[in-house]
Symmetry: C2
Subunit: 346 residues, 2 copies
């Protein structure tokens, strides 16, 4: 029996909502860790975190934190990634970045393992983890892309507040309590913490996630558009997105219209989806079975349902795609990439 | 000075969520009422209701209730409309029906005043009020249809629980309290009261409104598809809908992708929308201004924003349309039709 190869692993942003889920995934998957370093901003340094029965003290992330680190998982915001990833690479680490910092960098692979795991091999020290709303959509569409080709995607999202961090969850729950008590809640964080205007999220739908771009789309919408093309490796793919925050804690839902390049049979589509890696088909109108955010929360899979041929365009399909935005949408996708790197070096 | 012509008016379903709003609208608009009859099922008969300082006792609706009634507004469910409207017509009443009973009947006008008020003249005793989610969409799209032509509409909805009645509101609020208290709420009504499977609506998104049809679409989705074509008077219009219930009390939101038949200028589109009857343009990304359900609640207008040219199809627009589903989506649209009838007889 051979000894498994073990790795020195760093988690940057270990005290955040995604960092917490990355640690859970590493533990649950029994990731082959030799030494684990938990890193954060100076503000959160000193925090104690349990991992597999051992207590770790979070340290401030600095360039020298990455000495000896072989795999580093970043989820501490784009600025931290931009500042520290070059130093981590210099010190020999392979970085898996969960922020927007490197996603559209032409030299950086943007990876959803079910779609383009082969791209990991092309990395120059950093592999980008896509945006949550993109990951679940491309994972669900990949089997259809391979079998029929896809010409166009029109998506409207129903995104959970956890995508905006732990403080947005707290705000939504606080506002909900205030409304239920007959009060008029003061919005404080959403839609975008760094922008001046705030809107109530409790019992509301906010059609803004991240900042507006000059073309009238939000950055979240542009992420879905650009990242989908890059991950699918197809710049001819036409993608439109409208991204909306709704009062859900965990789990993004997506209403997706997709035009295929070939005729298709709906039964074959369902069979393809049901058999695809990482996907679960939940589609039975007779028993009112379809994916729900509350069911997907806490699970690693992408759930697909409401699959039906469009009535106005026989080459188009409508579907409903749901996944936990902190898991497949972030932590689990990152740990999948880390497992692939570990396996290729074992 | 001439005396205004007054009318004998009946409100059927006076104790329901929509009936209540119809009475409020009739009072606010100072509708020219001679005698007002409040009707309901036997169960609610005897209920006392205030209207303009007078107390009315709700009576059970029977065929003979409509003797002498000139205008009858129905919102007591499709079965009641089917059973009683023929009797009301026989007794000389013009009926404005807020249910699904007559909407797709070829001989019945389906009217959104901003779109096709001229169709009222063709009635044979009943004018149908469209489905809430359809009304706000066609009201917003009509100016674009007239100016540029529309070839295709793809809509995903974010619908309030009040569309499923007062009991659905109560359920959503109760479930929210239970979740906030750490409990696991038992769903009881939604998605469809008469179907066996129930789903949690609090902090969730349910992609089912009304029953599934054989084609995999729900009845709500088919209403949007069929009614839009009928109201626009254009069977060539291609319409796709995905209808989703979210935890909002009042106000449906809609993410709408629309393909126009001609080139357009986005600034002209915004000017058209801002100047159209019944519409309010709320569209300024710089100040994070766009329609919100919580702002639209209690207002009669349809609010439009997030208007932007599609990046993948220069002939297409994306927009966000919000309105109070009980007002423009039901009571206000019905009272607008009643006002038109009254004016044409004055």
């Amino acid at each position: 029996m051979s000894t498994p190869t073990l790795f020195n692993v760093a988690v940057v942003g270990a005290t955040g909502a995604v960092g917490e889920q990355i640690l859970k995934q590493l533990a649950a998957r029994n990731f082959p860790i030799k030494e684990l370093k938990l890193l954060s901003s100076a503000r959160s340094a000193g925090t104690k975190i349990e991992f597999k029965g051992q207590t770790y003290t979070v340290e401030e992330a600095t360039p020298d934190s990455f000495k000896g680190v072989e795999i580093a998982l970043f989820s501490a915001g784009g600025d931290v990634s931009k500042a520290l990833i070059p130093h981590a690479i210099e010190r020999g680490a392979v970085c898996i970045d969960n922020t927007n910092a490197y996603r559209m960098d032409p030299g950086t692979p943007l990876v959803v393992p079910e779609v383009n795991i082969d791209k990991v091999a092309e990395h120059k020290g950093v592999i980008a983890n896509p945006n949550c709303s993109t990951i679940q959509m491309v994972a669900a569409l990949k089997p259809l892309y391979d079998r029929f080709g896809i010409s166009r995607i029109i998506v409207s999202t129903y995104q959970a507040v956890s995508g905006a961090g732990a403080r947005a969850i707290d705000e939504m729950l606080r506002q909900s309590k205030e409304v239920l008590a007959g009060g008029d809640p003061k919005p404080d964080i959403l839609p975008v913490g760094s922008l001046p205007v705030k809107h109530q999220i409790a019992f509301n739908a906010i059609p803004q996630i991240d900042k507006f771009q000059d073309n009238g789309f939000t950055l979240e919408e542009m992420k879905m558009i650009r990242e989908t093309k890059k991950i699918m490796g197809d710049e001819t793919l036409e993608v439109t997105a409208t991204c909306v925050r709704i009062p859900v804690v965990y789990g993004h839902s997506e209403s997706v219209y997709v035009e295929l390049k070939q005729d298709f049979d709906v039964a074959e589509v369902k069979t393809l989806l049901a058999g695809a890696p990482g996907l679960v088909l939940q589609d039975d109108p007779d028993s009112q079975l379809y994916p729900l955010a509350t069911d997907a929360a806490g699970k690693n899979e992408v759930f697909v349902g409401r699959v039906r041929r469009d009535l106005s365009n026989p080459r188009a399909l409508n579907m409903w795609i749901v996944s936990d935005n902190l898991l497949k949408g972030a932590a689990w996708n990152a740990v999948q990439i880390a497992e692939h790197i570990a396996a290729s070096r074992a």
